[in-house]
């Protein structure tokens, strides 16, 4: 549970961690979780996102508005950089389980091993799990 030095540095500068672990489109969890992250950033908080489980699917390239104009969550993803949310952590095992590589993702991420993820969960930072 001792984070690597670069991760420790990231953690030291954060105000909020939002964990996303549901798939996009089918339900509202990712969207409402990202809304929290974006509002926090707009209020000047330094936010990191941890994508775990099905949450990694919200980073897939090539997503579109759904039929009937359902917006999806990729437009919010595209706003993260503008809001200075650049700390994006992705569970390596979640990617592997789905046969995905970092190249399949729309944003640059840090792939985390399980020790990294544990360090994040125990950084004593305000954390919301969606």
């Amino acid at each position: 549970m001792t984070p690597s030095q670069s991760l420790a540095q990231d953690l030291a500068e954060l105000d909020l961690i939002v964990v996303l672990r549901h798939a996009p489109h089918g339900s509202q969890w990712v969207r409402e979780g990202l809304d929290v992250a974006l509002v926090a950033a707009a209020f000047g908080k330094r936010v990191a996102l941890l994508f775990q489980g099905d949450g990694v699917l919200s980073l897939l390239t090539g997503q579109q508005a759904g039929p009937l104009g359902q917006k999806g969550t990729h437009p919010q993803m595209a706003m993260l950089e503008m809001y200075d949310i650049e700390t994006l952590w992705v569970s390596g095992s979640a990617l592997a389980q789905r046969g995905l590589m970092p190249d399949d993702l729309m944003l640059p991420v840090r792939v985390m091993d399980v020790e990294d993820c544990r360090a994040v969960a125990h950084a004593q930072l305000p954390t919301l799990v969606f």
Binding site: H25, G26, S27, Q28, G66, P67, L68, G69, Q70, K71
Partner: protein
């Protein structure tokens, strides 16, 4: 051969995709030349009937989508009264019966009992369920 369809919708709009899937399927049924006779809203699906839903203007308005199926096809839009009452969905009659100050279900949505769901299953050729 044209078939008659009933849909059972159990998912709330703006929480789960089920309601959108049901509406799209309903439209496709009509485009294929079938009759969409009944949509029955149960479980969290009752929220599809809320007259107060106020989605962002650039997003689909689910209740309006259902109403347009009613206008085009005469599709019955039936809302389970028991599932609706506990979830805060009432028409004028139920509101006055229960001493509530307002109502949020209006025609063409109709509050009704589960008997109407069974009727629809019995009399229509196909029944599809869309759940969260």
């Amino acid at each position: 051969m044209a078939l008659t369809y009933a849909l059972l919708v159990q998912g709330a709009p703006y929480t789960h995709q089920a309601a959108l899937s049901a509406l799209r399927f309903g439209r496709a049924v009509v485009e294929r030349g079938h009759r969409l006779k009944t949509v029955f809203f149960y479980h969290d699906g009752v929220h599809n009937a809320s007259a107060l839903m106020t989605p962002p203007q650039d997003e689909v308005h689910l209740a309006e989508g259902w109403r347009s199926l009613h206008r085009g096809q005469g599709t019955e839009l039936l809302v389970c009264v028991a599932a609706g009452l506990r979830r805060g969905l009432l028409d004028e009659g139920e509101a006055s019966r229960h001493g509530q100050i307002a109502s949020n279900v209006a025609p063409p949505f109709e509050l009704t009992g589960l008997g109407q769901l069974l009727d629809a299953m019995e009399h229509h050729d196909r029944m599809l369920t869309f759940s969260p």
